[in-house]
Symmetry: C2
Subunit: 194 residues, 2 copies
Amino acid sequence: MTSFLIIGHTASTDPSFSLNDLPGKAGRMDLLCRTVSSSLFLSHGIRQNIICDILLLGPPYPGRLIRFIGNEIKNLSPDERNIASFIKIGLAIPAGKTFRQASQGLYCRKAALADLLAEQEYAVLDESGTDIRTVPAENIPDAFILSDNRNYTEEEQSLIAGLTEFSLGPAIVHADHAITLLLNETDRRKSGWN
Amino acid sequence: MTSFLIIGHTASTDPSFSLNDLPGKAGRMDLLCRTVSSSLFLSHGIRQNIICDILLLGPPYPGRLIRFIGNEIKNLSPDERNIASFIKIGLAIPAGKTFRQASQGLYCRKAALADLLAEQEYAVLDESGTDIRTVPAENIPDAFILSDNRNYTEEEQSLIAGLTEFSLGPAIVHADHAITLLLNETDRRKSGWN
């Protein structure tokens, strides 16, 4: 499995957030929805070997982790509004320190970045990192952290300091676009493309 | 300038389409919105050298071409709902055979694929094409056609037969993801990355 963890610094943790204002009152939820979409969707199907975790740090309950699992999720569509409706379902269940299932392939728990870093080894997608195309396939890790439209906070930077950093190209792109580029690279390696 | 032309086989041409049902009643307008987003948006800005054309072939006026110009457009946000609101503005003006400006950087005209192919030389992004990574920079064209979630119709296939085809990788991806991959390739070439 390949895992993506996307930090949503302002993303609402109120399950009643409006589907009609994802960028505004829901705290750039639109961007997180697009990262779920680019993590999971192929043209005619769902990537089976992907876990997409979004860490929602907005009010009123900052620190909710929503997990989408590719080989379990059902009835997900790639549009932002549909994905946001799944996030609402995840936020609506009582959250504890371990994952609870909200619906098939959809889970929620409480989490802080420090917890997640203690549980799994991540790499960072960052424009200052090593060009992913130069990295041997066996050195491409299977878990990546990305930020939303905001830079990492100072606290986050101190937590992720020392993680391996990979760059995807000369332009600084949105997190969902970065995921698309990373998956293209791993698709190519697995299929023997250069 | 690099141009993308995305064919929306079912996309509504009724300017009153609902922003709350882009995938359904608006005819997979969500997908077209994401292609506009991936064509135009960098992390913190708009790509200045991009034209994104979407050809809407759904009812009631099939054959409306909406053009977004990167170095002119203002106040565009990357979320589907905002982009759809621009498309509604484009559809609301009277359409003739030449472009009329609907707002800054946003234009609309009547068009059929045959017209557009007669006006500009396009390449096709298709999984059966030449791997884009193997193509010398000078041979990468500056206009590309992509389809939405549907395959090209027989009539479209006959029109585009013979156009150069480029592939982006082994997986068949959504049109918006294909645009992200193509732009990464051209970004790399322009910046001296391999």
